[in-house]
């Protein structure tokens, strides 16, 4: 296991400590519940936007706390939804008169933990609603499953809801924005390697030296199929077609285009993918109004990438353009 870790059991609280030491003015850390929150939130007249999920997807979710983004987030162990108590305490810590919006990625564990926590919070008259994000087109949606997974599209839901909350929108208005983003965002990813959860110490799956997993989940879940590695542009074509045909997007659409690294892929390779994805948008008649190339939702050190398209309207464009700040910065 080639990792920077001390005791693997302390991996998550240790990196959270680093995040808060790096952002002393902005953030506050509650180790007992593996929660990070803005120091200056909650405030009574603003909706708090929160989230909580397994760790290992950094900068999602706790590193996405900041002005114009999340007000607080808790996390479980690597790839495990947070315990119910952590979710409940996060709601309580960010409770405001305007209400709390919980953005939940569509995994059984996250859903159950938050549902339970919300029941507990509502019993204490806290105003709280939740929204389920499910942008991954890799696995067909079906009545007989938990449904599509929530992956990198989560960033756009947070960004838009965070901007709306900062502008003082109501809980119901922000819920409608979450729904609009989620209805218009689609993602699919591909893995070239597995990752190694520190506590497990071994890979989650094993790919041959010339294989890739198309439609991989951000926890290393199998995707649509395993294939021989293709040239970068062909991989983009496969992801792009799957994503673009899902809604489907139409010529004339204004879109945001994201190429998200899964953790172990260098930024140079992400821009190789971006170049072709951008060309594919142009060929399809979509105008790329905003673009995002980097790491937004990862799977530890997994080599791989996902492609996300979000169809925009003027409201969403404005929310994406609004100022925001997160725990991870360049300058």
């Amino acid at each position: 296991m080639k990792k920077f870790v001390n005791d693997p059991a302390n991996f998550v609280p240790e990196f959270m400590k680093g995040v808060v030491l790096a952002n002393p003015d902005l953030l506050e850390f509650v180790p007992e519940f593996q929660m990070i929150k803005r120091k200056d939130r909650p405030v009574a007249d603003k909706v708090s936007v929160i989230q909580g999920s397994g760790s290992g997807h950094e900068p999602a979710h706790v590193m996405a706390v900041g002005p114009g983004m999340l007000d607080g987030a808790c996390q479980g162990a690597v790839f495990a939804a947070p315990p119910v108590d952590a979710c409940y305490e996060t709601i309580k810590a960010l409770a405001s008169d305007a209400g709390v919006l919980v953005l939940v990625n569509n995994y059984q564990g996250d859903r159950m933990a938050w549902e339970t926590a919300i029941e507990l919070a509502e019993a204490e008259d806290i105003k709280v609603k939740s929204f389920i994000i499910n942008d991954d087109v890799a696995v067909k949606d079906s009545l007989y499953t938990v449904g599509r997974r929530g992956v990198a599209g989560n960033f756009f839901v947070i960004k838009a809801c965070g901007a709306a909350a900062a502008q003082g929108k109501s809980l119901d208005e922000i819920l409608a924005i979450a729904e609009k983003v989620n209805n218009n965002v689609r993602t699919m990813g591909v893995a070239l390697t597995s990752c190694i959860p520190p506590a497990k110490g071994t890979t989650i799956f094993d790919l041959g030296d010339d294989e890739m997993e198309v439609g991989v989940g951000i926890h290393g879940e199998p995707g649509r199929r395993r294939e021989k590695i293709h040239p970068a542009n062909q991989i983009v074509d496969e992801l792009f077609d799957a994503v673009a045909q899902d809604i489907p997007y139409k010529s004339g659409d204004r879109v945001a285009l994201m190429v998200n690294g899964l953790g172990g892929t260098p930024i140079s390779e992400l821009y190789v993918l971006y170049a072709h994805a951008h060309e594919r948008c142009e060929q399809a008649g979509y105008t790329v109004v905003r673009n995002y190339v980097g790491e937004y939702c990862t799977s530890l050190e997994m080599a791989g990438a996902s492609l996300t398209l979000l169809k925009l309207d003027s409201e969403l464009e404005a929310y994406l353009a609004a100022p925001a700040e997160v725990a991870v910065r360049i300058f």
Binding site: A77, F79, P83, V84, D85, A113, G217
Partner: protein
């Protein structure tokens, strides 16, 4: 017919903790086949605390003890297992409130209430390839023995363990419909569900702990290192 005492329940909980801690890596590996490889660690995190705190827990009644255990699960167990096992313990606690012993009929009711709570929480049914596929047949077996007034609790335990173990092979070929494994489509077929394996292993270890002779046959139970 002998009742089940709070001491029996405590021994069962203690044995469960031992089972979970011993199989931490094995259960995670099983979860890695079609899930995300955290099942063993999530359970072990909670049962490590339960194991440590069990001696000091309020044992005035079975309900009080199980409620405290459910609270420890809610605080320390993440993943789907947190709400599922937390709900299970909490529901069982509600129908054993104030009781120092329970009859087989009451035990069947506790397990049945727990199973119903888990179904309500996660929306899974029999055949969705979750630990309910082990727990539901176990409940049915318990109810049948309770109705029949079976006196030999060892026999009851053995037959419950049989049901749980049978569920491993019976569901192996199924496609999961709930939990993370359901989000990988057909690719969950052919792998055992780790939750079912865990239930079967726990029941097998209860047999050993309570002196009930039983030899497992399914590879997942045989291959475990003790």
């Amino acid at each position: 017919m002998a009742d089940i005492t709070i001491g029996d329940v405590e021994r069962a909980v203690k044995t469960t903790a031992t089972t979970v801690l011993r199989n931490e890596h094995y259960f995670s590996d099983l979860d890695g086949l079609a899930g995300d490889g955290d099942f063993g660690t999530s359970l072990a995190t909670g049962f490590r605390v339960i194991d440590a705190e069990l001696p000091g827990i309020d044992k005035s009644a079975i309900g009080a003890m199980l409620l405290k255990i459910s609270m420890l699960v809610s605080k320390h167990v993440g993943g789907s297992s947190g709400p599922i096992w937390g709900t299970g313990f909490m529901k069982a606690a509600m129908v054993s409130k104030g009781k120092e012993t329970v009859t087989l009929v009451e035990l069947a009711d506790m397990v049945n209430t727990a199973v119903e709570g888990i179904m309500a929480r996660g929306g899974a049914q029999l055949g969705d390839k979750t630990l309910l596929d082990a727990l539901i047949p176990v409940t049915e077996k318990l109810k049948a023995h309770a109705a029949a007034g079976t006196a030999d609790l060892g026999l009851v335990l053995k037959e419950c363990a049989d049901e749980a173990e049978n569920a491993i092979d019976a569901t192996r070929g199924l496609v999961a419909h709930r939990g993370r494994a359901s989000q990988v489509g057909d690719r969950s077929a052919g792998t055992p569900d780790p939750g079912i394996v865990a239930i079967a292993t726990i029941l097998q270890d209860w047999c050993t702990e309570f002196g009930v002779e039983r030899t497992p046959t399914v590879p997942e139970l045989l291959k475990q290192t003790v």
